[in-house]
Amino acid sequence: MYDAGKILIGLIIFLAFATFPFYSNMGKAVAKPDPKIDTPVIQQLEVKKCVESKEFMRAEHMQLLNEWRDAALRRGERVYKGSDGRTFQISFQNQCLRCHSNKKKFCDECHSYAAVKPYCWDCHFAPKEAKR
């Protein structure tokens, strides 16, 4: 092997980059996210159903929130007609957060796991949560 020193330094740098995910996680226990929907308002509901189905909300909630933002704030439309015919007032603060008042255990649980930082709270107040 020619220039063995330089080659080895290069290979070590390559290994340091290529195996970064493996050694940077060593010895860290990761709890899986477990979002909670047990707020007082939800528990009092007779039919525990969001504005759309659970599957839809799970995959598309960010898009729906974006559409609601555009509808309410840019076009002044405040009524949302769900796919099952029910109608809702479009309001993040008064509609979404009325039930999902547990930001930490509902929103942040998955968002921090997936390192997603939505900019909802640039404008909106986070709901006041009872300290436990």
């Binding site: 092997m1 020619y2 290069g10 290994l15 970064f20 860290k28 990761v30 899986k32 929130l65 997936a114």
Partner: protein, 330 residues
């Protein structure tokens, strides 16, 4: 022909992933075994390939230069274009690796009427290549959010810079779009420039199609056919912590994405993609232009048998004396 062959190879890879997951339900194979095998092939393959290269000597001192060589103290020399020492070489290599400086000099050559040979500036390949490589690097770093927990701060910063336009939700990441556009340009260039098409082989098209497939499936997954990202992270983080698990209910697009990436990783050490390591080992770039100061000895050189004049005279002294030829020693 080469393009079609490579295109079908990628289509077959997509179908293998779809059939394997949707049809045969081989989630563990496609979610765990193949990615591990691919990464192991990638790391081992790159190391072995570089070691194999390092066993070939550089017989000649062949830096290419385009600047004044270091000579007399009152002649100003070009430290980057004709480096005389290690520092200059590092600067030159950094420009080469990070900014593709030699590609920046790319010219187009045309035969015009006359006949007259005309050279012109041609920066498109440089621009698209730079956009492609940098956005691919940023996309790769962004993906660390799936393989680390807690996610390092630099990954979060890159992610927010990448999405700072705040278009839509989930916010549009610019590098994904730039990557797809740039790699499409690199492909179209091979198709539409006759000279480049003539020298293009299936091995040139295959990485392009693989990367187009990877970028497309990734964009589909983020903006259109969403997969359950929490389960995806459970899978990927399981891979990174050597406690693999395959949660049920991740969409098939994810497995296509993962299988195409695994294919790219496994293919890497055997392909032209090894220019990642090779760029560092180009003798025309990484040698200092100091051949007038230091003698470069070819490592192949074996000791040449010589017969000096002293030895010659020793052997024939008597005969030389008899013939009347002057000798140095009596």
């Amino acid at each position: 022909m080469g393009a079609l062959l490579s295109f079908f190879v990628v289509i077959v890879l997509v179908l293998i992933a779809l059939v394997g997951v949707k049809g045969a339900g081989l989630y563990v194979l496609f979610g765990t075994i193949i990615p591990y095998a691919a990464v192991a092939t990638f790391i081992l393959g790159v190391i072995l390939r570089v070691i194999k290269w390092s066993r070939s000597p550089v017989p000649f001192h062949i830096p290419t230069t385009c600047g004044q060589e270091k000579s007399l103290p009152w002649i100003k020399y070009n430290k980057l274009e004709s480096p005389a020492g290690t520092l200059g070489v590092i600067g030159r290599m950094a420009l080469e690796v990070l900014l593709f400086r030699s590609l920046f000099r790319n010219l187009k050559t045309e035969l015009r009427e006359g006949p007259k040979l005309v050279y012109g500036s041609n920066k498109w390949l440089w621009l698209a290549g730079l956009a492609f490589h940098w956005s691919f690097l940023i996309v790769l770093i962004r993906h660390l959010r799936f393989f680390t927990h807690p996610v390092p701060e630099f990954v979060n910063i890159i992610d927010s810079l990448d999405g700072f336009l705040q278009i839509g939700s989930p916010h549009l990441l610019m590098t994904g779009v730039v990557l797809l556009l740039a790699v499409t340009y690199l492909f179209l260039r091979r198709v539409f420039i006759p000279q480049v098409r003539y020298i293009s082989l299936p091995a040139d098209y295959l990485p392009l199609f693989l990367i187009i497939g990877i970028a497309t499936s990734g964009i589909l997954m983020r903006y259109f056919y969403k997969v359950d990202i929490i389960k995806v992270k459970e899978l990927t983080l399981g891979l990174a912590t050597f406690s693999p698990e395959v949660p049920a209910g991740i969409g098939a697009v994810f497995y296509v994405h993962l299988f195409l990436i695994s294919s790219l990783f496994a293919y890497f050490p055997f392909s032209k993609l090894m220019h990642m390591g090779g760029v560092f080992l180009s003798p025309t770039r990484n040698l200092a232009n100091n051949s007038r100061m230091k003698r470069h000895v070819n490592p192949w050189n074996y000791p040449v048998k010589v017969h000096t004049y002293e030895e010659y005279e020793e052997e024939f002294r008597e005969k030389m004396k008899n013939a009347g030829i002057p000798v140095e020693k009596e």
